[in-house]
Symmetry: C2
Subunit: 334 residues, 2 copies
C-alpha cells in the first residue's frame, strides 16, 4: 500500500494525501475523512499514520548499503552514524544486497519506519535504465534521499560524490610521466563509479598514445586469492606489465601479493596504485599508494546537507569532491 | 514509558500487560480496558501498540553492534543479515558506540520499532557489574535477546559464543611445543572475550613454567602504525621475543610489519598468530596464521536458534563453539 494507492482509492491527488498525513490545515474535513478511511481500510503503515497524527519524529535516518562487510561501505556507515548521532539522530541500517527486488523491499521497510531521511551508500544504487531508478524517485516523494557516490537528478534527491574519473585519470597520467608505460587496469565493478574510474584510466592511456589493458575480475570483493591467481595466469600467458592501477585496495593488494609471489621488486619491477585509501593500504609491506576519495569529508558534507534539508528545506543538490593520491611504498615518487 | 510503568500505573502485573499486548484471551475485559487506557494516556510506543492490536509482525530483527567499521563486527552483520533474509526477516541495524548511555538509547530505539528479536553483536555488551546489564534484561522482558560472543544467564536471553579461552590456550601450547618459548601476547581489549583470550595465553605459559609477557595497545582498533610503533619501541628497549600471539588479526599484521621493518625473517625469527581468521589474514605476505572463531557458523546457529524461539518458544540457551588454528606462512608447522 503506497501513497499512490491511497490517492487513487480516495480519488484525490497525492499532494492531498500528503497534506492529510502531515496534518495540514488546507484540506476540507470531508476530504480528510475520506483519505483517513482509505488509510484505515487498507492498513496503511501505522508509523506513517502516527506521523500523520502529529506524533513526534523519532529523529532517525535510514541508511541503506548493499553489503555491510564491504570495507568501504562499512567505513561510510561508521562515519555517517557518528555524524548523525552528533546531530541528535539515530541511524537504522538495512543491508539491501545487490538485487533491485531486495532493494525495493529494503527501502519500503525503511519508509515504514519513521525515518526522517534516507541515505543510499554506494554508486551501485543508480541504474543505467531510468525506469529502474523509480524506486528512488518514489521514496523521494515523502522523504529526502541522499546519494553517497551516486548521482541522480530528481526532486528531493541530493548527490555527494568523489570525482572518480579525474582521480584515476590523474594517477594514470602521473604513472605514465614517471616512465611506466605498460600499465594494466584491474577492476571488478561496472557500477556508475566503477565506469568513471575505468574511463579515467582509458582516457589517460589513449591521450599518451598507449593501448589500455583492462582486466576484469569476476569474483567476490574479498576473493584475494582469486584476484592474485588471475594476475599470475596473465603472466603465465606471457603478459608483462610494470604498472598496475586497481579499482580498489583489495585488488591492489592482490597485485602486491602477485609481485611478492614471483619475487618481483616493488616498485622497481611493478608499481601499484590502489583506490579508497582504506585501512588495507597500511596492512601490507611495502604500504600501498592509493587514491584517497575523501570518504569522511563526503560523509560529513552529506550529513550537513541532510541537516539543512531537514531544518529549512534547502540543501545543495550536487557536490563533487576531488580525490588525492596518497603516495606510499608501492610506487616510485610520482 | 516502559512495560514496568504501565504495569504500575494500571495496578496489574507485567505478565498481564504482556498478555494484553500479545492479545491473549486470558485477561478479563475490565483489566484489558484498564491497561489499554494507561497505554493510550501515556502514549506507549505506537508499534508495540500496533502489535498489541494484532497487526501483522513486520518480520524484522534489530541488530546492535558497537562500530560497524570494525572488520569482525561488519562480517558478523553481513552473515546475520543474509541468513535472516533467507528466513524471510529484514534486519535493522543500530551502531551503538561503546558507551552504556548510547547503548541504552539504541536498544530503546530498536524496541520502539516493531522488531521480533534483538541481536547484540560483540562481547563488549556484557558488563562485569551486574546492574549495568539491566538494559539487556529489560529488553528481554518483551523481545528475545541473542548475544553473539557474549554470555548472560537470564530469561529470554540466548548466548552463542566461541571458546576463546581454549582456542588461545591451545595455540599458545602448540607454539611452545614447537620450541618457541619467549612468546609475547599483544592485545587491545578487556571485554569478556578479550579477557578469556588473555587468560588462555597466561595459563598456557604458566603451565609450561614460562613468564607471560602481556602488552596492551591503548589505541583504536585500526591504528596499525601505532601498534607497529609500540612493538618497535619494545625492541629498542631491549625486549626480544620470537613468538607473538595477537588478540586480533590487525594486531598480528602490525607484528608482521614490525618484523619486516627490522628485516626479521618470518617465521624463523618471529612467528605470529592472529585471531579471527579475517580477510586481513590473506592480505599480507607471508599470509597470517590465525585462529578461526567460526563466525559464520556462530551466526548461522544464532539465526537458527532465534527462528526456533520465534516459532515455538524453545531455543538452546547457551552454545559454545571451538576455534580452529588455520596455519599459514607466519608460523612454522605447529
Amino acid at each position: 500500500m503506497t501513497i499512490y494507492d491511497i490517492s487513487e482509492k480516495a480519488g484525490v491527488s497525492i499532494a492531498t494525501v500528503s497534506r492529510v498525513l502531515n496534518g495540514s490545515a488546507n484540506v476540507s474535513e470531508e476530504t480528510r475523512q475520506r483519505v483517513l478511511e482509505v488509510i484505515d481500510k487498507y492498513e496503511y503503515t501505522p508509523n506513517a499514520f502516527a506521523r500523520g497524527l502529529g506524533l513526534n519524529t523519532m529523529r532517525t535516518i535510514g541508511i541503506m548499503c548493499a553489503d555491510s562487510s564491504d570495507l568501504y561501505l562499512a567505513k561510510a556507515i561508521y562515519y555517517l552514524e557518528r555524524q548523525l548521532r552528533e546531530n541528535g539522530y539515530h541511524c537504522i541500517l538495512c543491508c539491501s544486497g545487490y538485487e533491485l527486488k531486495t532493494r525495493r523491499e529494503s527501502l519500503e521497510l525503511l519508509l515504514q519506519q519513521k525515518v526522517d531521511g534516507i541515505i543510499l551508500v554506494g554508486s551501485n544504487y543508480i541504474y543505467e535504465q531510468e525506469e529502474q531508478n523509480k524506486y528512488i524517485l518514489d521514496a523521494a516523494l515523502t522523504t529526502p534521499v541522499m546519494l553517497l557516490n551516486g548521482s541522480l537528478d530528481a526532486p528531493n534527491v541530493y548527490s555527494i560524490l568523489c570525482d572518480d574519473y579525474t582521480s584515476v585519470q590523474e594517477a594514470t597520467n602521473r604513472m605514465i610521466t614517471s616512465g611506466i608505460r605498460d600499465i594494466l587496469y584491474f577492476y571488478n565493478s561496472n557500477s556508475y563509479s566503477g565506469k568513471k574510474k575505468l574511463y579515467g584510466y582509458r582516457n589517460a592511456m589513449e591521450e599518451h598514445g598507449l593501448k589500455p589493458t583492462e582486466v576484469f575480475f569476476n569474483g567476490t570483493h574479498e576473493d584475494i586469492s582469486g584476484m592474485t591467481g588471475q594476475l599470475l595466469k596473465l603472466r603465465e600467458n606471457g603478459q608483462v606489465f610494470h604498472g598496475l592501477i586497481a579499482a580498489d585496495d583489495m585488488l591492489a593488494l592482490a597485485a602486491v601479493k602477485y609481485a611478492l609471489t614471483l619475487g618481483l621488486r616493488i616498485p622497481d619491477d611493478l608499481a601499484v596504485i590502489g583506490y579508497n585509501n582504506s585501512i588495507l593500504a597500511q596492512c601490507c609491506y611495502p604500504e600501498l599508494t592509493s587514491i584517497d576519495n575523501k570518504l569522511e569529508a563526503l560523509c560529513q558534507h552529506l550529513t550537513d546537507t541532510l541537516m539543512d534539508v531537514l531544518t529549512d528545506n534547502y540543501g545543495i543538490k550536487n557536490t563533487m569532491f576531488s580525490g588525492d593520491l596518497i603516495q606510499r611504498g608501492t610506487t616510485p615518487k610520482l
